[in-house]
Structure formats: structure tokens, C-alpha cells
Symmetry: C2
Subunit: 160 residues, 2 copies
DNA sequence: GTCGCTGCAAAGTCTTTGCAGAGAG
DNA sequence: CTCTCTGCAAAGACTTTGCAGCGAC
């Protein structure tokens, strides 16, 4: 029972498919597909990092300076994507919200308190237990997030 | 191995002890023990809720209107308490930061996405796994937080 | 007394909103 | 053409900071 493994290894979700989902989402809600929205999705897709609205904005300005994308559009689009569950946000201490594409496989986060870097991981045993716990507490579980804080291997060396 | 249970059931940490810890902390850092600081600690202790700076402020103003405690003092004291690991903060979606006394036993959170209420729980199996994972990834784990989101029993009834 | 603390108000951040022109469908 | 989007700048929400008087030790 504890060993059931949800096979979730479709790591490479094609950008095309993602884009299509996005377009459908927009169509369904009578919203428009604009260059800005596409660029935001694409930048999220191509980033391995968890991005803050500001870092996303900076990236986009560097890559597509001619668009002069405003920060407000970033916020508006991220809100839209989050509502539709296409991206997920994480909030840490003072560092504000960071966003990542939710279309990637589910995973949890291990965060280095020294350098701020984030490593992703999945542990099926924990996933299982979470469901059991939710059930035991009478919750209809929809989602979860887990963060482990510590000092990463690299920083342990540096500090020493 | 998976069954070792860290016995962590000292639920009732006396306020006296907590207060002493706080006083020692202050003394150690050449800080002063003020009524405002005491009231903040006490209010956190007596609250079962996870409090935002603002809700803490409101509570204190209601109970001790003569102190006219300023919101800035709340923020300053919470920062102090958090630095010294006497309180822990959680940040959720848009709702900002919420604080709770960290002196209570460790636990994770199950959050109702309908009513916003938070149920606490501990699961030893998960605690164990977290350590294993951190180790496997080369992290020196210091802390973690886990939130499960869903709809609580009460809200499931209401919505139906 | 000394030096940290407090409340107040002002200054910062980060995020959201109003608006008029631009652009997708 | 219509109606949503966008950038801009202004407004908001939340948090931090500077300061002068207050109070713990």
C-alpha cells in the first residue's frame, strides 16, 4: 500500500501542448491571446528557477525589450495563470511570492536558507501519507505544499 | 524504522516557562522587558488562532486599550520573536503572514480553502521521511513546513 | 542617569487599479 | 468594429524607519 507509485514521469511536457492548453483556457473565458501572455508563459516554461514577478519581468525585458512589458501585466497574467492552476505560487519568509509552472509534475521543495536556492523532490511515501491524513481529518484534499529548509551541500562547504 | 515515534506530547508548555525564556533571551541581548512585549507574548500564547500582525494588534487593543500599542511595536516584536525562534510564521496565498508560538510542539498545517481555518497535525512517518530526504539530497535540515489544502468537514456540508 | 523602547507619522515595498489608446478576434 | 489588453502612473495594502520623548534597569 505504501508502495504504490503514481507514475508521474512525463517530465517533458511539450511547450506546444502547454500553449494549447493556455489558448483553450483563454478562449473558454473569452479572453485574448496576446504576445505578452505568450512571452510570460514561455519564459516560465524556459526557466528552471522559481521566479518572482519582478525577476520574471526583468527576464522578459532583457529578452524582448521591444515589448516594453509592464510589471502590471506580469501580475495580471500570473494571477490569471494561478487561478486556472497553470502556475503555482510559493511564499517564503520575507522573500515574497515565487511562481513556477504547475504543469510540471508535482513536487515539493527543499530550500537552502543560505543561498536561497530551491531543489525539487518527490517522495511517494509522503504523498501517500498526506492523503491518509487529510482523510483522517475529514478534509477533502485538493493540494498541498511542503518545504524543507536547511543548508545545501554547496553552502555547507562554503561556510566551513 | 518507519515506526519510531518521537514522543512529543508535552502539549502544555507553561506560560511561566515561556515568559522566562523570553526574559532570558532579552537579558542575553541587552534588551528590555516591556509591558508591550509581555502583552504580545501573552496574547500569542492565549490564542489558538494563527494571528496576522494586524489581528494581533486588534486583539491587544481590545484587551489593553490603555497601552495604545502601536502596530510598529507588533511588527518589531514579532520580528524579534521570529529571529529567536520563539514564534514561527506561515505565509499563504494572498493572505499575508500569520504567526504562531513556536514553543508549542512541532506540527504541520491543514488549511481549509473555503473558510481559511487551520487544523494542526503531526505525522511521525512524514517527519521521518523528511529527514531521510534531506539527508539524501545532502542538506543539513533545519526546519520544514508542510501545508495540506482542502475543504474541511464543516465546509463540505455547507457547500452541499 | 543611560540607553533601549515606544508611538506616531512618514517613507518604503510590493501589488492592484483606473484610464485611454492599442490590438485581438 | 467590439471589447479585452496593455502600459503608465496613481492608489492601495502592508511593513519598516526616523525621531523625540518615555521607561526599564
Amino acid at each position: 500500500m505504501t508502495n504504490v507509485t503514481t507514475n508521474f514521469n512525463d517530465r517533458t511536457i511539450e511547450y506546444e501542448q502547454l500553449l494549447n492548453d493556455f489558448k483553450n483556457l483563454l478562449k473558454k473565458n473569452n479572453l485574448k491571446f496576446t504576445i505578452q501572455r505568450e512571452v510570460i508563459l514561455e519564459t516560465l516554461y524556459n526557466s528552471d528557477e522559481h521566479l518572482t514577478p519582478e525577476s520574471l519581468h526583468r527576464l522578459i525585458q532583457e529578452k524582448f525589450p521591444e515589448l516594453k512589458t509592464g510589471i502590471a501585466t506580469i501580475y495580471r497574467t500570473l494571477a490569471l495563470l494561478e487561478e486556472s492552476n497553470m502556475v503555482t505560487s510559493l511564499s517564503f519568509g520575507a522573500q515574497g511570492k515565487k511562481y513556477e509552472l504547475g504543469a510540471k509534475e508535482h513536487h515539493d521543495h527543499m530550500i537552502c536558507t543560505e543561498c536561497g536556492n530551491i531543489t525539487e523532490f518527490v517522495d511517494e511515501e509522503i504523498e501517500e501519507r498526506q492523503h491518509s491524513i487529510a482523510e483522517a481529518l475529514g478534509f477533502e484534499m485538493s493540494d498541498h505544499s511542503m518545504q524543507i529548509y536547511g543548508i545545501c551541500a554547496k553552502c555547507q562547504k562554503t561556510t566551513k
